[in-house]
Symmetry: C2
Subunit: 96 residues, 2 copies
DNA sequence: TGTATATTTAGATGGTAGGCTAAATATCAA
DNA sequence: TTGATATTTAGCCTACCATCTAAATATACA
């Protein structure tokens, strides 16, 4: 089940999209990600929450750190929803 | 050139997504669209502005009415950007 | 246990977004 | 030009969002 509402809202913020872009290269801890941003770790934590509630990322504790990674399966759904929204024919006809 | 920033922001609002869904069925005047919404025509006009600045819709005056229609080409770009964002292979390899 | 490190949660604040009403603009038709 | 219809623009208000600092939680290590 795709939470369109939360997904679109999550994608609306440039910092969140940048987090996703970073995670695209591989999993990273909250601290590692923070190094690339000018905002506080607390603010980033808020963004992680938004991305998680949209199921776009996942988190896993590893020792003292919390490691975030991309959840690619949801992206398939988003791409399909978007294609549907614009009535674009896609070869896989709606990966669910 | 895709204005990601404005496109994502435009898609973040449910009323705007609903406007797009309505226009998917065909062009409609501002007044016709308004019939499906509980908000004022002035508020809708604001949403048209946001959608236009993202180049997601186009407008054309026809007599006293202004008729809105979907700009599907931009959606191809959005779908591609999204696919890129998640590193999903697509058959058309990025329609630009 | 006590302390340091890593991250989140709580609470406050400024800015932006979306809603409204009222006024302005544009077209049509007398 | 005058009046009616269609839509946008202007101004205001409220709610939400991104950000901050400070405090809380969780883990590691001595």
């Amino acid at each position: 089940m795709l939470r369109s509402e939360q997904v679109f809202r999550a994608l609306a913020d440039p910092n969140r999209r940048r987090i996703l872009a970073i995670l695209k290269a591989g999993s990273r801890s909250a601290g590692e990600i923070a190094g690339d941003f000018p905002i506080s770790m607390a603010s980033l934590s808020h963004h992680y929450g938004v991305l998680k509630s949209a199921d776009l990322i996942r988190s896993e504790r590893r020792g003292q750190s919390i490691v975030y990674s991309l959840n690619t399966t949801v992206f398939e759904d988003v791409a399909s929803a978007l294609a549907e929204m614009f009535h674009i024919e896609r070869p896989d006809g709606g990966a669910s």
